[in-house]
Symmetry: C2
Subunit: 232 residues, 2 copies
Amino acid sequence: MSDRRNIPKPTARRLSLYLRELSTRLEQREVTVSSKALGKSLGLTDAQVRKDLALLGQFGHPGRGYAVADLVSSLRRIMGRDRDWRVCVVGAGNIGRALVAYDRFRREGFNIVAVFDAEATMVGREVGGLRVRPMADLAKVVAAEEITLGIVAVPRDAAQQVADALVAAGVEGILNFAPRRIEVREGIGIVSVDFTVALEQLAFQVAGGSIEDSDGGDEDENGDGDAPTSNV
Amino acid sequence: MSDRRNIPKPTARRLSLYLRELSTRLEQREVTVSSKALGKSLGLTDAQVRKDLALLGQFGHPGRGYAVADLVSSLRRIMGRDRDWRVCVVGAGNIGRALVAYDRFRREGFNIVAVFDAEATMVGREVGGLRVRPMADLAKVVAAEEITLGIVAVPRDAAQQVADALVAAGVEGILNFAPRRIEVREGIGIVSVDFTVALEQLAFQVAGGSIEDSDGGDEDENGDGDAPTSNV
DNA sequence: CTCTGTGAAAACATTCACAGCG
DNA sequence: CGCTGTGAATGTTTTCACAGAG
């Protein structure tokens, strides 16, 4: 039951993985799971799993393990997944189009309801069932469609400007795919994904580097880096 | 000069960000940069930047800062970016096609030289200048084209199998976009990126969570999670 | 005076190990 | 027994703060 404000950053990243794994197990009708089994699927120790899950409240049943269904609904609530999100994508280039067409988002409750592009030649085209709209419509559409999350899939040099426009339009969080740091004001969520950084982390490993953990999302402030991600 | 084996995981993630930022500054003809200025661009403290860069050897010039060009070439070497990489993409769906068409990879020295797909209807089609090949050709092409990195952009349930095939074919590292953990044997690099996890970390922030840092890549073993990434 | 490099301290995160529930 | 929840121990990362170089 504990609120989410006290959750350590590394744990928050792992919670997504627990949810992903547990959802799969729920679909397979598994009723309970032990910290050891869960940890094994995710490459974590059983102690780590217990410590993490203990933050959500008392769930485990000694001798039995955790009730999968209960854990899933608890995790969904904590992660803000107990409701649907309305999302827009800015940038109808390769990445933007792939994201709009990415079925999994919709299935997971992230509904992409609008796509924008600055190019006049792109505006009006159909992408994944949506008509591409001009940037001029951004504020109007974000308000009308009650969009709360924006995805930035534009070139690096336009990214900050687009992010500013999204925040001005009223979105509460931004998922950034442009290869640069985006600054947002206090209270706005920000997570970045940089494909080149991800490939570079891989090159680093292959070329002799170590690296062990994964990556995660970031809050505005501390403004850390872009984590491509890790294993799992 | 120090070798890369002793670099802490969080630092390795940040090195990519330093390189990204410094490359931009180099293009803009900046000659030196202070740890404070670099940190500001990246949302890090100056002390953090100095500690990180000190791992690469002695670069700073007291009173002056760091020589941008020297740092860039040193970082490139450490990250394994001082050579070109030959890469293949498995899965010619939305994500696979977007990655093949993603120009930045080529500009950064990651050359996608082959695309594979299991669907007969997809094989033979042209994607970003490449002809889609059948999975049966995987081993042959990986060897002939001297491919060292593989990108997995297939549905979840095929991902592990595809990863196994890539490793068997001889790749040394895998960038995984499927929403599940991939296991690879010791010595093979693995980094995962999960869009849904990234959006979920954002939802978590917006719904009230904290999270401060970014993500990163992961090594096989410790098998941690998938970090979507953070800011910057 | 500016700015690095770095020990020492503080903060944070993970692992251990065990008491106790069912 | 099997398995959780959790203090205590350990390990890791970040921050501090300052000596010394240019």
